[in-house]
């Protein structure tokens, strides 16, 4: 009888354990879903406690995968890491995934960990460089060795390539990426309405000829700005996302402002040279059109001298820089007997 009771109790006990572990899992998933719903973008903020609760403590296989973005608030101002941008893209992937599955997919969750507040988790994952994104699969026992790292190539095309990585590794489809429109529909409507309202007023002023648009000075400054913008290679900086300067690899205290090699440039470098270009031209205009009205002869001469020197210096500097950058030695073609 006692024997009987014993086996019975074992069966019930084990049944209980199974039931409770199943219950635990569904509880975890429910927790995650609420956390996900609380977060604006659907990315769950993890810290040391929640990492152990959702990732280290539950037995494998876990019923879900976790894609984790490792963030560090104090590195946000380093442009070469692109943390902010990547994080935004990560959030886009997360929210797209959630909307495409009507918030009902419990196979994959998105999370982020902040360095300052959860340093031990960083150690747990063995993360020592950023940006870093890791996929923890359902079967991963050791967070450091069994999880997949998203490599640089998968960041390259931002949200799209991250989504591909997810699809490839988890066999879950992310679906179309929903990027938030630059202006919401409401704003767009308001702007058009405002524009339509303003239009008659603007037209009236145009006909009367009394707008800012009739002031050549504004047009001139705009023109010079456009000129400066293009010759300084600002477009290049925007398209290629070039940083303003680099840190010297050999000596971290030194900053590199000029990049050797044609077809590439750094931000500050372009602006410096663009400024030199502009200065010479404007000084010439100044000398021929403004200086002549100055009454004082000495002031005039000093200004003249100053202009000459500055222009000379600027032109020389630019030519030197260009020769250094491109590595070309430009020379004339004189008759060979002259040498």
């Amino acid at each position: 009888m006692a024997d009987h009771f014993f086996t019975f109790s074992i069966i019930t006990l084990s049944l209980f354990v199974v039931a409770s572990s199943g219950g635990l899992e569904s509880e975890l998933v429910a927790d995650l879903l609420t956390l996900q719903a609380e977060s604006k973008s659907g990315v769950i903020h993890l810290d040391d406690r929640t990492v152990s609760k959702f990732l280290t403590s539950p037995r494998t296989p876990r019923p879900y995968s976790f894609l984790i973005f490792f963030d560090a608030a104090n590195f946000h101002d380093k442009p070469e890491l692109r943390l902010r941008e990547l994080r935004r893209e990560f959030e886009i992937v997360a929210s797209s995934f959630i909307t495409n599955h009507n918030s009902s997919n419990t196979k994959l969750f998105f999370g982020d960990i902040e360095f300052r507040e959860s340093q031990s988790s960083f150690q747990l994952f063995g993360v020592n460089s950023l940006p870093h994104v890791r996929l923890v699969g359902p079967t991963a026992k050791s967070l450091k060795d069994d999880s997949d790292v998203m490599d640089q190539g998968d960041f390259s095309r931002l949200a799209e390539s991250m989504a591909e990585f997810v699809q490839y590794r988890t066999k879950l489809t992310v679906g179309p990426i929903h990027r938030p429109p630059a202006l919401s529909k409401m704003q767009l409507g308001l702007i058009t309405a405002l524009l339509l309202l303003c239009l008659p007023l603007v037209a009236k002023r145009i006909f009367a000829g009394e707008t800012l648009l009739h002031d050549p000075k504004i047009w001139l400054s705009g023109a010079v700005f456009v000129y400066f913008f293009s010759v300084s290679g600002a477009m290049h900086n925007i398209i290629r996302k070039m940083p303003m300067f680099l840190v010297d690899r050999n000596d971290p205290n030194k900053l590199v402002f000029f990049y050797q090699g044609s077809g590439m440039q750094l931000g500050a470098e372009g602006f410096a040279v663009g400024f030199l270009y502009t200065v010479v031209g404007l000084l010439l205009a100044f000398v021929t059109h403004v200086l002549v009205y100055v009454k004082d002869a000495t002031a005039k001469r000093l200004a003249m001298l100053f202009t000459l020197l500055v222009s000379f210096w600027a032109v020389k500097k630019v030519i030197l820089l260009d020769n250094w950058k491109t590595g070309y030695g430009i020379h004339g073609f004189w008759p060979s007997s002259w040498n």
Partner: protein
């Protein structure tokens, strides 16, 4: 005694000052005309008279076709030798202006009994048109400023590297003719606006027609001119002259442009041309308002009327545009156009545009390289233009600024900006030099510096100059003048050097410096193409990356799968997929495309860096864009592109790698380095034991730059 004798003889030839000036001007123009031509002949002197680059080979082939078969056959030509098995409707997919021009010159020369070969005509077309451009620049400069500025502009544009880069002898491309047409159209239009004459308007419409027939860049004209008109309207410079000029250009130009099959109804349907149409209707509204204002005497009544009309007009326009877009009648902007307005667009969405090296954004050094001192003079020129605002100077300022912006987005558009930069800088140079020389020649203390300000403000400036002493004594003027001429001489040196060293290489024949400073010529491309022509069956199909398509059809006379006319992205992606798959997978694609030979370009022996291995990532990207089985990370190691032992396994075994490095592992390329040392990338290759199963090596050129493989027939099944 003898002195007076000669002067007696010369008396009938003695010229008045005005005549002397004219003579000097004409002489200078003649010299500039010749200079513009001969400075572009460096390439012929250094290499030989041949066609350069890639696209010109297609143009050459089609020109040959025009001269042999006549215009109508050319217009209806279906080319089955490219884009196999799709083919290409040539007449409907090209801008025929260049070919027809060259064919006409050829006919004319033959009519005059000059028995030249059509190739020579093609080679020299671009320099000839560059010379003509200098003349147009002179007249344009004269129109917007004065004849001095015109002369300077002609000189500057004759040698400006930004223009030379696309117009050296042998670069037989649309741009060579198109820049002439562009500037000519602008000149005629400005002339029409200045005079208000219907004849000039008509001429500008025909100039526009020529431009449309020559180059896709005509879209720039059809957007810039409406923008210019809009600015004039906004700044209150509407006039009857403008009305006549614009309407004439738009209506006639549109009708003429629609005769070009490649443009056709796009001119009234596509989004790129809608600005012109909108401005056209706006002009009518303005004209109407002007008329009503003329009829109504009450200003209040007119204001009310104005408000209602403008609102209605804009609303109707907006609705029409919306309906047009929604119903699909107006097509949206094309990717190329869109990537100009939002430059980051192409990088993310159209790899085939982003992959071309001339579509890269411009760094400051490229501006410096192509414009040199013109860059310093440009802001000064802008300032001068603003000081003497007229319809013409507003036009040149707008042309300069818009093209400068586009030049910042894409390297190749520096070409379009060049004429504007030259003209605006010429204004700066000419006005400054004129001032200074006037100052130097004047004997009295009264300065005449204000003279640049033109006639409109002459009164004010003379008033100012009365109570001013010399702004900078003659010495100062001398120093400035000397500085200006020094700069100009540096410009000439720079341009000559750049032309001869950087822009005159044909890129089909490569030159390098040997160990002893002597020049080594690699003529592998032509060797390979002639091999194809001599040794393969007439109907053989050759697969290569699209860069070499035009050259293979033109020189090898064999059918290609894809070529530089990148109209079908899927087809290109198929080739990209074949190149980046394993050999057996690639073999199936190759069989399905009916390919007989595969051609790859390889620079590992010579150190030639723009070969297929360096372009390979683009093949993967373009292939992966259509076929997701191809994934870029598979070919990279930690985001790094490698070909040595640490390379990705997929990379080491893909078709492109195998074909490039087949038997390369046995070869010593450099002393002191192991066999299989790739000189283009400076590493030892990772897979030296390459076995080919379905392809066999057919031909490798003397410097290994081009390698051709024959596709084996399938194995017997029993």
């Amino acid at each position: 005694m003898s002195n007076s004798y000669t002067s007696d003889i010369l008396k009938p030839f003695k010229l008045k000052t005005k005549q002397q000036e004219l003579l000097i001007r004409v002489l200078i123009l003649c010299l500039v005309y010749i200079l513009a031509f001969i400075t572009r002949l460096f390439s012929v002197l250094r290499y030989e008279s041949m066609i350069h680059e890639f696209d010109p080979y297609f143009n050459y082939r089609t020109t040959l076709y025009v001269t042999q078969h006549g215009f109508y056959d050319f217009w209806n030509w279906f080319d089955y030798e490219s884009w196999y098995p799709l083919g290409r409707i040539v007449g409907g997919t090209l801008y025929p202006g260049l070919m027809v021009t060259a064919a006409l010159i050829y006919r004319l020369l033959h009519f005059l009994r000059f028995a030249v070969h059509i190739r020579e005509v093609c080679v020299l077309t671009a320099p000839f048109f560059a010379s003509n451009t200098t003349l147009v620049a002179y007249f344009f400069g004269k129109e917007i400023w004065d004849s001095g500025a015109g002369l300077v502009a002609a000189i500057l544009i004759a040698v400006c590297p930004g223009y030379i880069s696309r117009s050296v002898a042998g670069s037989y491309d649309n741009e060579g003719v198109a820049i002439f047409a562009l500037l000519f159209t602008f000149y005629l239009f400005v002339k029409a606006v200045n005079t208000g004459s219907l004849a000039w308007g008509l001429a500008s419409a025909f100039g526009y027609f020529y431009m449309v027939s020559a180059w896709g860049g005509y879209v720039f004209i059809i957007n810039l001119i409406p923008l210019y008109v809009l600015v004039l309207l906004i700044t209150g410079r509407y006039s009857m002259r403008l009305y006549v000029a614009y309407n004439c250009l738009y209506i006639l130009g549109m009708l003429l442009a629609m005769q070009i099959r490649f443009v056709g109804f796009q001119h009234v349907q596509s989004g790129e041309h809608m600005a012109a149409m909108g401005v056209f209707f706006l002009m009518q509204v303005f004209y109407f308002l002007d008329w009503v204002k003329h009829m109504l005497s009450d200003t209040n009544l007119f204001q009310e009327f104005l408000r209602i009309t403008v609102t209605c007009a804009v609303a109707v326009g907006g609705i029409a545009l919306g309906v047009g877009m929604a119903s699909g009648y107006i097509s949206p902007w094309t990717g190329r156009f869109y990537s100009l307005l939002d430059p980051t667009y192409a990088k993310d969405h159209i790899p085939i545009i982003a992959s071309v090296s001339e579509h890269q954004p411009t760094a400051w050094s490229s501006f410096m390289f192509d414009f040199h001192i013109l860059l310093f003079l440009f802001p000064a020129g802008l300032y001068f233009c603003f000081k003497r605002l007229s319809d013409a100077t507003i036009f040149i300022v707008m042309y300069g600024l818009t093209s400068m912006y586009f030049a910042g987005v894409m390297v190749r558009l520096i070409l379009v900006a060049t004429p504007a930069v030259c003209l605006i800088s010429a204004i700066a140079v000419s006005a400054t030099v004129k001032n200074l020389t006037v100052l130097l020649r004047s004997k009295t203390k009264v300065a005449q510096i204000g003279s640049t300000k033109g006639t409109s403000s002459a009164k004010a400036s003379s008033k100012a100059s009365l109570d001013q002493s010399q702004p900078f004594q003659k010495n100062g003027a001398m120093a400035l003048l000397f500085g200006a001429f020094y700069l100009l001489s540096r410009y000439a040196t720079h341009c000559t050097w750049v032309t001869s060293e950087a822009y005159s290489s044909p890129s089909i024949v490569l030159a390098a410096r040997g160990a002893h400073g002597n020049r080594v010529i690699f003529d592998d491309y032509r060797e390979a193409y002639f091999w194809l022509r001599q040794n393969t069956p007439l109907d053989a199909k050759v697969m290569s990356w699209w860069d070499y398509g035009y050259q293979i059809t033109a020189m090898g006379n064999r059918t290609v799968i894809v070529d530089n006319n990148t109209w079908n992205n899927t087809h290109i992606a198929t080739v990209g997929r074949a190149m980046s798959s394993y050999e057996d997978e690639a073999y199936e694609i190759i069989r399905s495309l009916d390919v007989d030979y595969v051609l790859v370009v390889f620079g590992g022996v010579t150190g030639y860096s723009s070969d297929d291995i360096n372009k390979f990532l683009w093949m993967v990207r373009i292939g992966g864009g259509v076929f997701p089985v191809i994934k870029e990370p598979d070919y990279l190691v930690n985001g790094e592109y490698r070909i040595d032992k640490g390379a990705a396994p997929k990379m080491l075994n893909c078709l492109m790698y195998k074909l490039s490095y087949y038997r390369f592992g046995e070869m010593m390329t450099e002393y002191g380095k192991p066999p299989g040392y790739d000189r283009a990338r400076g590493v030892e290759i990772g897979n030296k034991d390459i076995k080919l199963e379905h392809l066999e090596e057919a031909f490798t050129t003397s410097n290994w730059i081009v390698r051709i493989y024959k596709v084996k027939p399938p194995n017997n099944r029993w």
